[in-house]
Amino acid sequence: MKRVLVVEDTYLTAESLSLMLLELGYAVAGPVPNTREAGRILDEAAVDAAVLDVDLRGELVTPVAARLVSLGVPFVFLTAYLGLDPLPEVYRAFPTVAKPCSLDTLERSLNALFEERDRGSASGGQREGVESSELRAVADDETRAVRAHELAGDQ
């Protein structure tokens, strides 16, 4: 059974997501409400995929995303932002699911993730290396983006 990490800050939404994943035949790692606890889960055991809520009470989920890229674990972003995405540019290429999401959408996105991963491993792990270096390069930008976002929120 594939294990899917769930990072989502709202308890009921996280529970609902977990229920859906169980229904789809996945095991759930978490759910966890923040990056710190997500890190703890990744320390403990490997996961096969992840569903990441982008905005965790003003904190971006990107550190988890960066770590998953370096681990070669595929993931989808779950976001309620459709217009002004707070995600730094480099993350925009990753698959995204809009909140609230249906069981169907979740199923299709996860299937697509695993298909993509299988193709990627067949052609070698080149892409991941490039991506993770890109991700390191934007680490600073990212912090700045989060800060700008918070500042704008204070207005």
């Binding site: 009921l12 309620a80 932002y81 217009g83 002004l84």
Partner: protein, 511 residues
Amino acid sequence: MEPTEPAVRSRHEPDSGEGDLERLRLEAIVLELEASNDELRSANEALERSQRELEALRNLELLNARLTDEITEAKAARSDLVKLLDSTGIATIFLARDLSIRSFTPAATQVFRLAESEVGRSISDVRCHLAYDSLESDAREVLEKGSSVERAAQAADGRSFTVRASPYRSVNEAIEGVVFTFVDVTRLRDAEERGRRLATVMADSNDAVTVVGPDGYILHWNRGAERMYGYRPDEAIGRRFDILLPADSNDSASELLERGRTGATLEVAEAGRRRHDGSTFDVSLTLTPVRDAAGRVEAFAMTERDITQQKERRAHLEFLLSELDHRVRNTLALIQAVIDQLVTTTVSVPALAEALKTRISGIAAMHEALRREKSGEVDAVRMVRMALAPHVLSDEQIAIQGSAIDVPTRIASPVFMALHELAINAKKHGALSVPGGRVVVDVEVEPDARFFDIVWKESDGPVVAHPTRRGFGMTVIERGLEYEAGGRVDLEFEPTGLRARLRIPLDGEQR
């Protein structure tokens, strides 16, 4: 006569007979001759006199002819002059020294109520349409001093006139009267006012209004341009427009002007610009070619507006819309999750519908309450009051008290959800399910200020038994607060009523 006297005397001498007769005859002839000589002389004199008279007459005739010519010429000149004065359309009125009207031009009827019959009447008897009281005193001043007087006067219909009173001099420079001219300067005045207004508007405009020559040199520089760019007029005028473009700009002044030359008015929505201090900003601009009479482009009038704020506002608006979208979608996700959870714990469809409606109104109350919270912090007592607002029937039923403490708004959502569920539970099974039942809610701050507690105490309700099964509400209260805020919930089902202690960390998650 003297020499003839002896002869006359001798003629009267008696001593000669024949000789005497001859002498007498000769004397008679002499007398006759003398007499005719006198006649001839007087006739000659008469002739000479009439000769002189004839000459004088001829001179008079010549003079008469010349004067007739002059009079004709003068008449023609006068007629020309009258026509000229009439055609100028300038109201002109000629007054004699006694201020009686000698003549006037047709246009003068616009200023005075005048008819041809009024010639000869005193000007003071004629009604003037202008507010011009000093006409007579001005006329007298002109007559006395021989110099002109100029005044401005308004007509009742709003038109403006310039009045000029000048001496009317005869050929020998004597002042014979006063000429008044009334020139309608309404349009001139309006144009002047418009011009002045426009100049003020242009000078004070926040927009940079500049005039650039066809060769790209700055010709005019208003105050708005000075404020916008930081160049004084003397620093900007005469320099090329390129000084205002950022170093890395793809535009060039000549290119812009080349584009401007072709059309009537060129509008550019966004263009980069550089200030005197080197900082850059964006403008929107309008470029209008100014053409000479032959249609050649003489210069360009350029209006530039700083769109920095506009861009910031637009970005902020986009941000707000995105935030709204975010909240709406999160709320929908929450409602979706509530449905998912209720479905697993609710037994009937009507009960599900009722439970769902109650939760949705609770979520709505949370939004309503947190909508205006901007500081990132909210007073805890206020937060509790807002959370329970949909349930509070009277102060006797729910009393909220406690110390004032600001808590982060990010914990508001799980606290709202938990309090809401406690209230629903109390209404269904607890103190609020019977008349006279009470709930007291205390907000307590731990001495070390690392936590704050919300203590929920029910009393005077039905006897409480420990629930056999964890429903949706209990799950939300216990797990939700822990998950989202790192809080801890202690529930004690005492016989006198439910006691719940919600302990929430203030410095981030404490799980």
